[in-house]
């Protein structure tokens, strides 16, 4: 009897220890299930020096002209949070020193946002502010980009970025909410745009390989995932142009439709979000896929973009019986249930390009 109580108490203690562990692990499992890309947000103009800022306003982070290899003068801070050494002087080797110049004044930063990170080499990056295009830029040969958005006021914004690879395939939209401080420049760094993805066959004969390819940053570790009843992961490395290719052996999966996606990583720190999903069928024959650079979904006026015009067309038919002409579009470009409801708006919002 006594032993039994001890046994029960022991089990209770074990259960009480395990329970919080489970509670703690629950959300962690969720994070693992949906890999989230992170960006680093710093504010230039808030007088707090954060990496990668050299200085911020009057805060010079302990630096002076002397620490910048000058002999004297006054070090100040540029509006982009880099050192302004124009008022620093170096003592000439021999000879008398000239008169000191006037001190460089501090230039207040304008309200704005600077976005920087990685895309694909020489690719075009489009920046959306609250779902409308505000800037485009081109990445360098190493896939790095930086773009500034000014002329905005302080407040909460939703910024999104996407890129187009060398074949014209668009990446998924990477979105992040940003709180912009009035009179300061908010830096959004470490953006890593997800790889583009395509497959060479729309149907693959079971046992044959299907090529999964796309573009990312050069020399990035690419993880290709194939969703089936069981999820398969494959790894490859992108070349100097960021191009990657992964041959997936279809004998691992059953007959039927499967989906693939990819993400990129450089080192252990920079990890992109997953790309768009691409479907393929495992069947009895090989059918070559046509390269679809632009998704038809959500594009109601068929102009290759999903933006306010498409939203407006959908809004026009919202809660109205749709016309025969629009029914064809609804079937092809929305969810095909013969009406326009919020599910269709969700589809438009997912495929948004601005």
């Amino acid at each position: 009897m006594m032993e039994n109580h001890i046994f029960i108490n022991f089990l209770w203690i074990v259960a009480l220890i395990i329970t919080p562990l489970f509670l703690f692990l629950g959300p962690t499992y969720a994070v693992g299930a949906s890999i989230t890309a992170t960006v680093k947000i710093t504010v230039c103009g808030d007088s707090v020096v954060e990496t990668p800022e050299q200085c911020d306003g009057s805060s010079l982070n302990g630096a002076s002209c002397a620490t910048q290899d000058f002999t004297s003068g006054t070090l100040s801070c540029n509006s982009n949070c880099t050192f302004n050494t124009s008022a620093c002087t170096s003592a000439p080797s021999g000879g008398g020193g000239g008169g000191g110049g006037g001190g460089g004044g501090y230039i207040a930063p304008v309200t704005g946002v600077t976005l920087s990170g990685r895309a694909y080499p020489k690719s075009t990056i489009t920046v959306l502010k609250d779902a409308q295009i505000v800037a485009t830029t081109v990445a360098d040969a190493s896939a790095n980009f930086s773009v500034s958005v000014t002329g905005i006021s302080g407040g909460n914004y939703i910024f999104s970025v996407y890129s187009e690879d060398s074949k014209g395939i668009r990446s998924s939209l990477l979105t992040f909410p940003v709180s912009v401080t009035s009179g300061a420049t908010t830096n959004i760094g470490d953006i890593f745009i997800a790889p583009t993805i395509a497959v060479d066959k729309s149907e693959v004969k079971r046992g044959d390989n299907i090529a999964v390819f796309g573009q990312s940053a050069p020399q990035a570790d690419i993880v290709v995932s194939v969703n089936s009843e069981e999820e398969f992961f494959g790894k490859t490395i992108s070349d100097k142009d960021g191009i990657y290719l992964y041959n997936f052996d279809s004998s691992f999966v059953e007959y039927g439709t499967h989906y693939t996606k990819a993400k990129a990583a450089i080192g252990n720190q920079d990890v992109s979000s997953f790309s768009n999903l691409v479907s393929f069928k495992v069947g009895t024959k090989n059918v070559l896929a046509q390269l679809q650079t632009v998704s038809k979904k959500g594009d109601l006026n068929a102009d290759g973009r999903v933006n306010l015009v498409d939203f407006s067309i959908a809004a026009y038919w919202y809660k109205r019986p749709i016309s025969a002409e629009f029914a064809t579009k609804e079937k092809e470009r929305l969810n095909g249930d013969g009406k326009v409801d919020l599910v269709d708006f969700s589809i438009v919002a997912f495929y948004w390009t601005g």
Binding site: G154, L300, V309
Partner: protein, 306 residues
């Protein structure tokens, strides 16, 4: 005795696991939150209620919410200033004691305390103030399929008391200091056979980070204008069917925020009038012609006199 002890323990374990499941499910669900700055309000006092979205690990791109409020509350105003919603499918609309709205966040929102809307109530009578999110509220995942997200929400309750001395009833205008005009925007002219019988229409949208957008007004003019009088601007919404289907007019779209700040966006005509199609040009030419004729005539007359 022995027979009961093990099942009793198993029962407790099951309860614990049910709790684990409940809490982990809660952690995985998106959440709609109602927030009031305090628990006690006076009769006649402005009661700002913020509606927040917490998404946990989900990315949400579409919302539909209905909120009911107790009969002792009166909705004075609402604001989408600083809202995460980029475009309203249905702007907040009040029917009875229910406010309903739906909108989208292109690309999805993933984060905590994403402000959807600020509701400005006023209490008519003392007692309990109750604001409830109705069960019909829906959130959709940013997953290309419009999958419904798991959603949790709870009611908001606060006390309304009679003030000891008469409470100064504030202005019905939104009590948010806002001197900034709405964000700059660019309207777009387009046509599609699916709507307005293929006629040209205008789409536009902007946001205001302070008090929120109050409305839009539109003016079409064949001439460029530096000032537009208020009665020339017609209040309207996007999509707007253009009156000038020949696209020869300048189009002015004025966005006004709830504090009265304005921003006007102008679109130049796609097919502007040629110089010879404007009567005023011919009028100037004719006047010039007559002046020249008069001058030549005077010169001739003076020569004849000499």
């Amino acid at each position: 005795m022995k027979k009961f002890q093990i099942p009793y323990f198993i029962f407790h374990i099951l309860v614990l696991f049910a709790l684990i499941l409940f809490f982990t499910q809660q952690a995985l669900a998106a959440e709609l939150d109602l927030f009031a700055s305090k628990q006690e309000f006076f009769q006649g006092e402005s009661i700002p209620i913020k509606v927040f979205l917490n998404t946990d690990n989900e990315s949400i791109n579409t919302i539909e919410v209905k909120i009911s409020y107790s009969k002792n509350l009166m909705l004075k105003n609402w604001s989408d200033g600083n809202s995460i919603i980029s475009f309203w499918v249905e702007k907040p609309n009040v029917e009875g004691e229910i406010i309903s709205f739906s909108g989208i966040i292109p690309g999805g929102y993933q984060g905590k305390e994403g402000l959807i809307l600020t509701l400005d109530f006023e209490a008519d009578n003392e007692g309990k103030g109750l604001i409830t999110i109705l069960n019909s509220a829906r959130l959709f995942l940013n997953d290309s399929l419009g999958t419904k997200a798991e959603l949790i929400f709870k009611d908001l309750e606060f006390n309304i008391s009679r003030p000891s001395e008469p409470f100064k009833i504030p202005d019905s205008k939104f009590q948010i200091p806002d001197t900034e005009p709405p964000e700059s925007f660019k309207p777009e002219i387009t046509a599609d056979p699916a709507i307005f019988d293929g006629k040209w229409f205008l789409v536009f949208a902007t946001q205001d980070k302070g008090s929120g957008i109050d409305g839009y007004a539109i003016h079409e003019s064949p001439r460029i204008k530096t000032r537009i009088s208020t009665n020339e601007l017609m209040e309207d919404e996007s999509p707007y069917l253009l009156k000038d289907q020949n696209l020869r007019s300048y189009i002015y779209v004025k966005a006004v925020d709830k504090a009265g700040n304005e921003r006007i966006a102008m679109l130049e005509p796609r097919y502007p009038f040629k110089w010879y199609e404007r009567w005023e040009n011919w009028f100037i030419i004719l006047i010039g012609f007559f002046i020249i004729c008069a001058f030549v005539r005077l010169r001739l007359k003076s020569k004849i006199k000499k």
